[in-house]
Assembly symmetry: none
Homo-oligomer: 530 residues x 2
């Protein structure tokens, strides 16, 4: 591998991506996403801005243990009129539990004049002193040169002086930011071509925004002009129109250029999974048309294209979809179904001959259910139950006779509006009916509580089981409150086992019951086979 072609990936999903309208990461979300990024083998994971909000404080107090990526904290250079050592923001940044720091500083004279209102040389001193101060205390220091491209267009010498102040004082990377996202690819190419005469490309990064729909192309233009660190986010998350989308950049760089990343072919095959994992965390519907990983990215709608693709997929596909963990969708004769399902059987330890007629039945069943809105990619326990039921392996542990859930909102005696939920459940276990009633914090909680009350005395193994995650997705939002709803429930037990189940219905209570029912059944099945 020729070293000068190595491009470093810097992920800012957890910092700049957190600026997306409607996105609100919890500490748990940040932890899960950081681990996924590390598994993908990006080079840097920027965790957030310590000191900016309670979530980021909590995350940096107990940071994720990363095997591959360098965990990075974001912050500002020192304020005007303070020494670097006496700046509380800079001190908080340096104390953050992260080996690397990325500090934002201005590089556009107009911003220094208007937004900061300070002398231009004071801004350069702020950058130089902050980098020097941090460099003595952290293993890697980066400068995020805000508005670099607008600054360079307005006053090239001043913009260069700003980044040279960082580079000469030991910044590992100087990141050229197109903060407002308005720069076009040919401008990036020209400007970077000039900048590399002053700061070597092996110390330059690029950070693009998608305000003209060119963030990916701008990043590629910067890399081709010599830059060797690229910043972006998963699925192009980010404020306004988003950041450069790493999910699109990674496969383009790996499959279509001679640049090298720290990612192996096997890691690349996780790309679709990681993209969807983020959407799951954010409870967003994945973008079907997303480049490389979208559900439609390798979909062939019919006629001429389909028959050509059946002759040779290269006729209408720019890459082999499995390289990025995606798959071909052909409306007629979907051959990928069986192989996929056989692979999942092996995963759950089910030995079955591919030619068993039950496999064909199950393939049809899975297709029909996925068409109805079930998502087995995230609900392995429900998939396992479906598969084992098709093979006749699941006993009837219990049978629901009926349930009733009531939610009442009224003014109580103290003139407060209160809402109470109450559920009654009747289950039949081997011919014996049990009826229980319970109240709860909402209808699903009441139902869950009543169901356990009925089953725990008969199956004490359920006693240590608890629900740890509950997700609701509206599948047909245009139908308003009449929409089809998908509920996914994650359960855990005292042994640390976790499993996820799914339910789909036009009625959210029904969908929830279905997922609860699967969760309990799966636990009983595992207990009975031990």
């Amino acid at each position: 591998m020729s070293d000068d072609k190595r491009v470093y990936l810097f992920d800012t999903t957890l910092r700049d991506g957190a600026q997306t309208q409607g996105v609100d990461f919890s500490v748990g979300d940040k932890m899960a996403i950081a681990q996924a990024l590390d598994k993908l083998k990006v080079d840097y994971v920027e965790g957030g801005w310590p000191g900016a909000n309670p979530t980021d404080d909590a995350f940096f107090n107990a940071p994720p243990e990363l095997k591959h990526a360098t965990f990075t904290a974001f912050g500002m250079t020192r304020r005007p009129g303070r020494s670097a050592a006496n700046d509380p923001g800079l001190t908080a940044l340096i104390q953050a539990k992260a080996p690397a720091v990325c500090m934002v500083g201005k590089s556009w004279d107009f911003q220094v004049d208007v937004a900061l209102g300070i002398p231009r040389n004071e801004n350069i001193d702020m950058i130089a002193e902050s980098v020097l101060h941090a460099k003595e205390r952290k293993s890697e220091v980066m400068l995020d040169a805000e508005h670099f491209f607008d600054g360079y267009k307005a006053n090239p010498q001043y913009a260069l002086d700003c980044i040279l102040a960082a580079y000469k004082n030991g910044a590992r990377w100087v990141v050229l930011c197109d903060t407002n996202g308005g720069t076009l690819p040919h401008e990036i190419e020209r400007i970077v071509g000039e900048v590399v005469n002053h700061v070597p490309g092996s110390h330059l990064g690029i950070h693009c925004h998608n305000d003209t729909e060119n963030a990916v192309a701008n990043s590629l233009a910067g890399i081709r002009a010599g830059i060797r660190q690229v910043q972006g986010t998963l699925n192009g998350l980010g404020e306004r129109c988003g950041n450069a989308n790493l999910i699109s950049l990674i496969p383009s760089l790996m499959l279509k250029t001679d640049f090298k990343l720290g990612i192996s072919d096997a890691d690349l095959a996780q790309l679709t999974h990681i993209s969807r994992l983020l959407d799951e965390r954010l409870n967003r519907a994945p973008n079907r048309g997303a480049a490389y990983v979208g559900d439609s990215a390798f979909a062939h709608k019919g006629g001429l294209h389909v028959s050509a693709v059946e002759k040779d997929p290269r006729t209408y596909e720019h890459i082999e979809p499995s390289l990025v963990g995606n798959r071909r969708h052909i409306v007629v004769s979907d051959q990928s179904g069986r192989a996929n399902i056989m692979a999942r059987f092996r995963e759950i330890g089910l030995a079955i001959d591919a030619h068993d007629p039950k496999v064909a039945t199950l393939v049809e069943q899975v297709k029909a259910r996925e068409f109805d809105g079930y998502a087995y990619d995230g609900a392995e326990a429900s998939f396992e139950l479906l598969a084992r039921r098709a093979l006749g392996h699941v006993p009837d542990f219990f049978r629901l006779s009926r349930f009733r859930v009531m939610d009442e909102r009224r003014w109580n005696a103290r003139n407060e509006l209160v809402t109470e939920s109450e559920a009654t459940v009747t289950v039949d276990v081997h011919g014996n009916e049990t009826m229980t009633v319970a109240t709860g914090n909402g209808p699903v909680n009441a139902l869950d509580t009543a169901l356990r009350k009925a089953l725990v005395p008969l199956y004490p193994v359920l006693d240590d089981m608890r629900l740890v995650d509950f997700k609701v997705r509206i599948l047909t939002p245009q139908d308003g409150t009449e929409a089809i709803t998908r509920v996914m429930i994650e359960s855990a037990d005292a042994s640390g086992e976790r499993w996820t189940t799914v339910g789909v219905s036009g009625n959210i209570i029904d969908a929830s019951y279905e997922a609860l029912n699967d969760a309990i059944t799966w636990k009983l099945l595992k207990a009975s086979s031990n």
Copy 2:
């Protein structure tokens, strides 16, 4: 205007855009979109493929009357082994009521060998003879050179021979297609740079797909290399990952380069409207993050950004939003301070002095509610109600006395498990209590139906209001079914107005009621102030 900078826009929303998964245009849709494109002053509107389906047949039988754009029909070159005059497809294309035709022909040797299975020179004859035949019968003929870039990479001479066959026989435009969408911008630049030595750029078009998220950049690269016709779709509609997005290309060309379009500044100011009109026609939620026209494209969330934008919008905006008919949007979020809230007040037309003590109270209220899980950055109507309530501007249109919702799952007489939801609602309107009952497809739908049943007779203005989106987010998933739930509801009315409201509670039914209540109240408030 220097003529060699004039770039012609060719819209294929109604032909290639119609291949989008889930899109199904009616004749009425096509008519409305063609008129909007004409009003925008694109140069060509491709209406569809006459003979391919009944919708396109009907549309071409009674074509739209366009003032500016040239209406174009799409079809294929003649088939192998037929003369152009005796080819039924080509005859249908020429008979279509459109002055211009665009014919697709292959230009990749591999496609000719594998997909067509004919001698390579026969493919060239098909192009030459079809163009010649059409040229004598139509005012403009174009060749859509399918897979041109893949073809050129594989066999440059053959790809050139294909397009020269069209150009030399009188094609007004030869359109270079990146059919599989896998070509990167620097490859486009190199290949087009070579092609213009054989066919003048004033006769070349480019047609890009977004499979690497570079369709816009590829189009720009082609234009910079000399091409003068660019094909794309509104909002980047199209099969797989979509076509080049004209909504992004148009303002980049007009505002950031010296190329000229047939569009005036006043036409450009309709861009946001046209983008959303298409989404309305397709009943899709507009992409908030869309370049230039998205609802978030000029949204400012962070406190520092907001105060800089108030000093001078150029600090964080690459263009003035009104140039494309969009607007600045100050987002209310928990990072927001007083500056954000005051800016939001101005946006909703609330005049209040920044030093009014009610402002401080409201800032505290917004922060406390966001801590509880409310998200006002997506729920502008709930924010407006909160603000107007703090200032004493919202009348009590109705008061909930109580509601009760019941969901029952049981085996019916035909031994099927069925679930029924029923809601009773009692509301007090100016001292008169009304009690209604309704069933529904789930508890929230039942509640919504019962509430409207009570209110519509008293407030007929609510009759045209409907729910168009319903989102549920679990805020504390680790609490399982006891979690805090946030519900966001988007409503619309017959005038096309859309507004979003939010509710938060440990009980999903409560949270839904709160969002419903705000949605109805906002509509009544608007109606009462008109």
